[in-house]
């Protein structure tokens, strides 16, 4: 099946993935994606009509703990150590609201 993914769909996937691809990369990624999807289509051979999707193999669900603050021992500065840009104990990002 050729060209099953349009350039528009590829661009949309790129937006969801938060990736900016050059037109060339986009073309190549589209080809790879198509090849994978053709392979994945094999799953359509299976009848899964009354089957519940299995998100987790064991029935462990609703694992909650009390909503209590637990201070991180390393402190604020240690968390900020890995920040690409920081100022006055905070992460710096480009302006988010115009």
């Amino acid at each position: 099946m050729a060209n099953r993914i349009s350039a528009g769909e590829m661009e949309y996937a790129g937006i969801l993935a938060k990736l900016s691809l050059t037109p060339e990369e986009q073309k190549e990624a589209g080809k790879d994606l198509e090849q994978m999807l053709n392979y994945i289509d094999k799953l359509n051979e299976l009848n899964t009509e009354d089957i519940e999707p299995m998100f987790h193999v064991f029935p462990v669900c609703n694992v909650f703990r009390n909503d209590e603050a637990r201070p991180y021992e390393g402190g604020r500065n240690k968390i900020l150590e890995n920040a690409p840009e920081k100022r006055e104990g905070r992460f710096v990002v480009p302006k988010t609201v115009e």
Partner: protein, 490 residues
């Protein structure tokens, strides 16, 4: 006999008796690293000085009688997707090239509390996405058996380091075979436990519903002791399971009598290399001689495991890797216009090709209009595959199979055809989909001199029986055509 010829447990015993020290052990391993690392590149980061300091401190506590654990003083290596406090953790990616975690993964913390001494962080496929360790942003690792071949992946650095005696044991992670397959390629023993047995706290997530941390060691006993140390409930991982039966090192008897072992007939059909197939059947014969009951059977739906796996793993990856946005940690692009452009540029420059490929696939299968057709379909397939295994384990204690369809490929061969690389996971991924324990044990080698691995797959929580069978099988290594001793493992 060199110190580095010992297994982890043998070394621990020697240190306890005062016949060797933790510092000597670290120095012996550093000597191996000095000799071999340039040609192998098993490590991304080596912390030689820190390791010597830690070994000194551990040795004092051993002498005072404060540390009694079998692994006290034993040098280990850790896959670079496990966070280590104060030590760079890259996940094999430019994205995290300078990332120094503020805390350690629970599995690492438990081993260090037991007195194991970490030497450094091992190479891996970028974000564990790959089967050869060639997608690492820091260059490929070579197979210690033959440096023209890949070590497998994604835990290729950990397996190569153990095989080359550049550590006594290592931690790896297994999302679709990433412990078992490189263990087979390098001729070491690797164990992926039942989902939920080892806390994933501090493991940089790829496919959360599939992956487990596990041991890579020189033999079955080492793996059982390491697994026992890192297992156990942890409230910091919401998928952690409360189980009491984690005293895995207590079950090692050479007795395979009465164990019911199924051999999936369809695993031995098309696509399996003859030499690998013969080796696995040779292992089966040995277990039969030890009193195990072997039977061939049909394990259904095996051809659907890989497509289901790639949908689920990529979907989870696209979500898990959303956190890499260039804000709190990791790479940030130098030039950008506005917030969203910063996200996009940072991610596009920070991630490698294979990672981007899987994030795109994952985003696509989760997107509106495709979610049901791809993602839910894969999860339903997963339920059916689990059912096939449940049916098999009604009749058998475990399943014996190959680990991979062939021995290690040459460097550079796999990346040209990603789909072909994905297919090499055919015998391992279904184990992750069903959450089962799986162990890879070396069993001979092919004509090229490359190791062959056999896989034992257990029922959920069936680690003890699995270890018992593996231990029995391991006894046959000395008589199997090309033993690991001949290959220079021990």
């Amino acid at each position: 006999m060199k110190l580095t010829d010992l297994t982890a447990v043998e070394l621990g015993r020697k240190i306890k008796k005062g016949e060797a020290t933790a510092v000597e052990a670290v120095e012996a391993v550093l000597a191996e690293i000095k000799e071999k690392e340039e040609s192998l590149h098993a490590y991304i980061t080596i912390e030689a000085e820190k390791a010597v300091e830690k070994a000194k401190a551990v040795q004092k506590r051993i002498e005072k009688g404060e540390l009694l654990h079998p692994l006290a003083g034993v040098p280990m290596a850790v896959k670079d997707n496990l966070c280590t406090e104060g030590i760079r953790t890259t996940c094999g990616s430019r994205m995290l090239e300078g990332f120094v975690p503020g805390y350690s993964a629970e599995a690492v913390r438990r081993l260090e509390a037991a007195g194991a001494v970490m030497l450094g962080k091992t190479n891996m496929d970028e974000f564990a996405m790959g089967s050869t360790t060639e997608t690492s942003a820091f260059g490929a690792t070579k197979n210690p058996r033959n440096t023209e071949y890949v070590p497998g992946g994604s835990s290729g650095g950990s397996c190569a380091a153990v095989a080359a005696k550049e550590c006594f044991f290592a931690l790896g992670s297994d999302t679709g075979g990433s412990i078992r397959q490189p263990s087979a390629y390098c001729g070491v023993t690797g164990f992926k436990p039942t989902y939920g047995t080892v806390s994933r706290y501090g493991l940089i997530a790829y496919g959360s519903s599939l992956e487990q941390i596990g041991p890579i060691g020189k033999d079955v006993r080492d793996c059982s002791v390491i697994l026992e140390t890192i297992s156990g409930y942890d409230e910091k991982d919401s998928t952690s399971i409360k189980r009491e039966d984690t005293d895995f090192s207590t079950v090692l008897t050479k007795d395979a009598k009465g164990l019911r072992i199924g051999i999936p007939r369809n695993y031995f059909s098309e696509g399996l290399d003859d030499e690998v197939g013969e080796a696995v059947l040779d292992g089966a014969r040995f277990l039969k001689e030890q009193g195990a009951v072997l039977e061939e059977f049909d394990l259904g739906l095996t051809e659907y495991a890989i497509p289901a796996y790639y949908v689920i793993a990529s979907a989870e990856a696209s979500s898990n890797l959303g956190r890499f946005d260039g804000v709190k940690y990791g790479y940030r692009a130098m030039e950008y216009e506005g917030l969203h452009n910063m996200y996009k540029k940072s991610r596009s420059q920070g991630f490698g090709k294979e990672v981007k490929r899987r994030i795109l696939l994952g985003s696509f299968v989760l997107s509106a209009g495709y979610y049901e057709a791809y993602y839910l379909k894969a999860l339903k397939t997963k339920a059916l595959i689990k059912r096939e295994f449940d049916r098999a384990f009604e009749r058998y204690d475990m399943i014996l199979s190959p680990v991979a369809p062939a021995t290690a490929p040459r460097l550079g061969e796999s990346l040209k055809e990603p789909l072909k690389m994905y297919l090499s996971d055919v015998y391992t991924v279904s184990v992750n989909l069903a959450g089962l324990p799986g162990l890879s044990l070396p069993w001979g080698q092919d004509k090229k001199g490359l190791p062959i691995g056999v896989q034992l797959i257990g029922n959920a929580f069936g680690e003890k029986k699995l270890l018992q069978a593996a231990y029995a099988l391991e006894q046959g290594l000395s008589i199997c055509t090309k033993s690991s001793a001949e290959m220079g493992l021990r």
